[in-house]
């Protein structure tokens, strides 16, 4: 015969021993989470309003040289930081485009497919346009972030990021 039956531990008389959460308290905590979610939403909308057209300026970096990249070729570079892989594509003799290499679906690296003239993500068959990075097919929800490229003589410089 136990000294104290289990129900006595579950329903103690002293408030200090009572650890059960009542329905009322649980619902109150849900409402607090609701307020926190609203606050997060307001924070995101404020940040969105403060930024203009999603364009970010970062320190300029030289990423490649026109003589080392053939037409229809691509090269990986890192911008703005060492953990931000980007893909530079030479569309024709004068046009260079660059996008973030992270697929907007689940972050897999995209590759340039010259035969389809698109950026291809092998993980879930996502396709992005090489002209503007918009989604052509597959599960990716958003276009690829575009890297602003400036041609200075034979040097190619990354000057900012959109998206």
């Amino acid at each position: 015969m136990p000294d104290s039956p289990a129900w006595k531990d579950d329903f103690p008389i002293a408030w200090t021993d009572d650890h059960f959460v009542t329905r009322r308290e649980f619902t109150k905590s849900l409402v607090l989470v609701s307020c926190a979610t609203f606050a997060a939403n307001v924070a995101v909308s404020t940040l969105g309003a403060l930024q203009e057209s999603g364009q970010h300026r970062y320190p300029e970096t030289q990423v490649a040289n026109t003589t080392t990249l053939a037409v229809g070729g691509s090269r990986v570079f890192y911008y703005p930081g060492p953990h931000d892989p980007c893909l530079l594509v030479r569309i024709d003799s004068e046009s260079f485009v660059a996008f973030s290499q992270s697929c907007t679906h689940l972050g897999c690296p995209v590759h340039f497919q010259s035969e389809t003239r698109s950026l291809y993500c092998p993980c879930h068959e996502g396709f992005f346009s090489v002209e503007d990075g918009r989604v052509l097919a597959g599960p990716p929800p958003r276009p690829l972030a575009r890297i602003l490229i400036e041609k200075r003589g034979q040097e190619l410089w990354a000057t900012g990021k959109i998206g």
Partner: protein, 82 residues
């Protein structure tokens, strides 16, 4: 003597208790649904922010605010003594 004679046999049916239980369960369910909608709004806002489509961000904040206000109103109804 004393107040033990106050104990008059009364019906075991307690409509008031049943109504209170039903109201707290209904409020819990409504707050769950509102919270779920708010998480959807937050997800949409983040998608819009990261995707550069600022058009969706403000309406989701407004919708989230309406859901939050409704949730506060519901919990206020439950907590008000009657």
């Amino acid at each position: 003597m004393g107040y033990r004679e106050d104990r008059i046999a009364h019906t075991t049916d307690c409509k008031h208790c049943t109504n209170q239980m039903a109201s707290i369960y209904a409020v819990m369910l409504c707050v769950f649904i509102l919270l779920f909608l708010q998480f959807l709004m937050l997800t949409a806002a983040l998608e819009g922010y990261w995707g550069g489509k600022q058009l969706f961000v403000l309406p989701t904040a407004v919708a989230s605010g309406i859901c939050c206000a409704l949730a506060c109103k519901l919990i206020g109804y439950v907590l008000t003594p009657r």
